[in-house]
């Protein structure tokens, strides 16, 4: 009895084996002759999960800038960076009153705060709870758009927000294209963020030193101050906070004085190309120039231009403001110069004078900021993409609403004087500061109220605009329009980033004993980390980009 039972069990097993054993074959043969069909399906738009997408496309087929159906009230969320102003609710109420009347919608601003904001920004997109979101290239706009985080706006702009499209302008919108599609609406206000050197003009005059417009003059300027006042701090530099692939240590920014690069600090992975010939990429890290430059850094470090512990320096935000250093070379821009002027005045240092010299002035590579530096996008998965875009249009193009969202309520938060200058009514502790919602992406040159400091700033911008005209590509920001897709070499890229921290930073900080040996070691480690793979990947994409836009 039991034998038979066991036997039958194994019989069953054998049967199963024969029946199921044929599964390992490739399925290609079984596909049949459906080939052409398949290919066609491939060509079509990838289908998405969200209904919103389909709804959006349905809308676009209506073609006409038809009346938006506003019968149902919607409550939208606008996610922006930074901290909320005290009077958030009051201003929102004022805006919503108008929005309800115009498009039957309300808006709720949500703020990232400055804690872990990068992480929370991607979380917000993952969770998809916002409708409108602030975008910028420093928030990886390019990569996020490629990855499908935002709604495509090409058609929606025509059907829902033609006024917005006109206000911002085709050129600006084109700069926000990623893989041919528009995913964001940039602000309608051009600015120049030319990096440069901020230095103490009063000290320069006092000791009769040269203007730091070249490496030699910068050295002479710093040396001169050191000789006259040995206790004076000179430069405050530290390891790069942001994870760029350009430099490892702040001091290396000074080489922008020497090279007319297409972008501050060149191209990633130790590559470089000149502004006049962007497609002509050459090697920097493995060149003799690099070794020479590192020797200069060593010399400067030995001269005591910065602290020997600078790699770990933590306290650099206020050095210039408090006179602890006499020049800043990394991450500076005209706005920071204005801030310094203001700080000196507020702190009662009336005899201190700050002066600014842009690297591009010397190397003739002045270009404006890129449109993707401030923009707004519609989050993929938003239930009301049309309404969201419509609201964005109102926020940007309606003077009353734009003023409200940017400056708060007139008479409560700010006033405009006879010259049309903006004044906050509670300057000591503003309940709604200038651009208090941090909606830098909603700037509209037409309605923008100038602050007192904007007079100086605009002078600087005018100067740079003229200089920008004289370049080979007049007033074009070439590099920031490019977004790299590094999926294929992520692992190598990570390794390269580590080598930069470990070997490039001490080199650029001049903290090695033997520069030649350290350069050799750095290059070796880079090669081991697979820099060539990153470079090949980057070069290929960069060449294609330059080709597409005619940057020859």
């Amino acid at each position: 009895m039991k034998r038979r039972k066991l036997l039958s069990l194994f019989l069953v097993a054998a049967m199963v084996l024969t029946m199921a054993g044929c599964g390992g074959k490739s399925a290609a043969d079984a596909m049949g002759e459906e080939q052409p069909d398949t290919a066609q399906t491939q060509e079509q738009e990838p289908e998405t999960e969200g209904d919103a997408q389909e709804a959006a496309e349905g809308e676009s087929s209506a073609a006409q800038p038809a009346e938006l159906d506003t019968s149902e009230r919607v409550d939208l969320v606008f996610y922006v960076m930074g901290d909320a102003p005290d009077d958030e609710q009051m201003v929102e109420d004022a805006i919503n009153e108008i929005l309800l009347e115009k498009v039957n919608a309300t808006i709720d601003m949500q703020f990232s705060t400055w804690t872990d904001f990068q992480q929370k920004y991607s979380l917000e997109l993952t969770a998809g709870s916002a409708d409108l979101i602030y975008i910028a290239n420093w928030l990886n706009y390019g990569q996020l758009a490629t990855s499908g985080a935002f709604e495509e706006l090409d058609d929606l702009l025509d059907t829902v927000a033609p006024v917005l499209k006109e206000t911002v302008g085709e050129t600006n919108l084109d700069m926000c294209r990623v893989e041919g599609k528009i995913y964001a609406v940039p602000c309608a206000w051009a600015e120049y963020v030319c990096n440069g050197i901020k230095y103490r003009e009063d000290l320069r005059e006092k000791y009769d030193l040269p203007v730091p417009d070249s490496l030699e003059n910068l050295e002479a300027y710093l040396m001169g101050i050191k000789e006259n006042d040995p206790n004076q701090g000179l430069l405050t530099v530290t390891t790069e906070e942001s994870q760029g692939f350009l430099t490892g240590f702040d001091a290396a920014w000074v080489f922008n004085l020497k090279y007319p690069w297409v972008n501050a600090n060149g191209l990633p992975y130790g590559l470089a190309s000149d502004y006049d010939s962007p497609a002509d990429v050459y090697d920097y890290w493995y060149s003799d120039d690099f070794a020479e430059d590192m020797k200069l850094m060593k010399k400067w470090a030995d001269l005591g231009f910065w602290s020997k512990s600078a790699l770990s320096d933590t306290n650099n935000s206020e050095s210039y403001k408090n006179g602890l250093c006499v020049a800043e070379v990394a991450g500076q821009n005209p706005n920071k110069q204005i801030t310094a002027l203001q700080d000196f005045k507020n702190d009662g240092h009336d005899d201190w004078k700050s002066e600014y010299i842009a690297y591009g002035e010397i190397t003739n590579t002045i270009y404006p900021g890129h449109a993707t530096q401030n923009g707004t996008a519609v989050v993929r998965g938003s239930k009301n993409p049309e309404r969201a875009l419509k609201v964005l249009e109102i926020l940007m193009t309606d003077e009353e609403v734009n003023r409200l969202v940017q400056y708060g309520i007139e008479g409560v938060h700010y006033e405009i004087d006879d010259q049309g200058i903006y004044h906050n009514l509670e300057p000591a502790h503003p309940t709604f500061a200038y651009e208090g919602f941090n909606t830098w992406a909603l700037r509209n040159g037409e309605f923008k109220l100038p602050q007192e400091t904007d007079i100086v700033l605009n002078e600087m911008f005018d100067k740079y605009e003229k200089l920008g005209e004289q370049t080979k590509f007049p007033n074009v920001n070439i590099y920031n329009g490019f977004s790299e897709n590094y999926d294929a070499y992520q692992a190598e890229r990570t390794a390269v980033s580590n080598v930069m921290k470990q070997y490039l930073a001490p080199l650029q900080a001049g903290l090695v004993d033997n520069v030649d040996a350290a350069v050799e070691e750095f290059r070796q480690k880079m090669t081991d980390a697979g820099i060539e793979i990153c470079r090949d990947g980057f070069k290929e994409q960069w060449a294609a980009y330059c080709d597409e836009y005619g940057y020859k």
Binding site: T115, W138, S242, S317, N322, T339, Q373, E435
Partner: protein
């Protein structure tokens, strides 16, 4: 009654007092620097460094922090609320669980302990955790999302089990059971009273966890009215680094950033109250001994 101390005891006491004194000084020293720094003029700190006594005494750092007293008082209030609610509910749940998994007659006590412990090793990471509260439970912006996630921790549950096993002999609960007492009666009448040092320890850890937390506000708060105190201060600190990073490539005018002395004053403001609370908790550590002494 005075007993003559043995030589070894004297030696031991000398060592004890000496080492504790040294330890205390080492521990309190940085705190004194922070305290004095918070009363020092900012420029003085930057140019001359830290000192033990304040130089150029000023209250301006505290004035800056309390310039908007509404905000900081609100943050205090909320933190107090989270700490009280979280500690009370959490302590109750932890003690209950500790009691159950310390019962010998509970067949699955090892399995349950394992399942609880397992969560301290394995996790799905922050993203699914965030989505659980934000999207599934739709709790973003609520105070619930701030106190609930920290109610229990495997560490505290297991610590509580150890305390219960150590301080409640089986014989006592067995005899109570024979007298017809149910689990809840045993738990409240017998276990809780003898567990004072354990309750104080776990409660202290829970309360500290709530007091020091800023992460959940960072993740779930949509309105500064629900911010925890530490987040209120931490966010100000972070603004410095964040804005520096961000404004390199773009022309965003920066708001007023906190100065060094303000940072130090914040540390004092955030720490002060809980330091006043700690001696209060200490009472329970001491009382454990006196109960024993009376018995002896």
């Amino acid at each position: 009654m005075k007993i003559k101390k043995a030589g070894t005891t004297v030696v031991f006491e000398v060592i004890t007092y000496a080492l504790l004194a040294i330890g205390s000084i080492v521990c309190v020293f940085p705190f004194i620097i922070i305290l004095s720094g918070s009363f020092t003029d900012n420029t003085t700190i930057l140019t001359q460094g830290y000192s033990i006594l304040p130089r150029d005494f000023t209250l301006s750092a505290y004035q800056t922090i309390f310039r908007a007293p509404r905000d900081i008082l609100q943050a205090y209030k909320m933190t107090l609320y989270y700490t009280v609610v979280g500690t009370a509910v959490g302590l109750f749940m932890i003690t209950l669980t500790g009691y159950v998994i310390s019962r010998k007659e509970f067949k699955y006590r090892n399995q349950v302990s394992f399942l609880i412990y397992f969560t301290s090793i394995f996790g799905g990471g922050m993203i699914p955790w965030y989505l659980m509260y934000a999207n599934v439970l739709n709790m973003k912006g609520s105070t619930f999302a701030i106190w609930f996630p920290a109610l229990m921790s495997p560490f505290l549950v297991i610590l509580m089990r150890t305390f219960i096993v150590g301080s409640v002999p089986d014989a006592i609960t067995e005899s109570a059971k024979i007298d017809g007492a149910g689990h809840f009666t045993i738990f409240i009448k017998i276990v809780m009273p003898v567990l004072k040092p354990g309750l104080a320890t776990v409660g202290l850890f829970l309360a500290l966890g709530y007091w020091n937390d800023w992460y959940r506000s960072s993740m779930f708060s949509t309105n500064s009215l629900t911010w925890e105190l530490q987040f209120y201060l931490y966010d100000l600190l972070n603004a410095t680094t964040a804005l520096k990073q961000m404004t390199q490539g773009t022309g965003i005018s920066t708001a007023q950033l906190p100065t060094e002395s303000v940072k130090l004053a914040m540390a004092v403001v955030a720490t002060g109250p809980i330091l006043l609370l700690y001696p209060f908790v200490q009472k329970y550590f001491v009382s454990g001994i006196t109960v024993g002494a009376v018995k002896g």
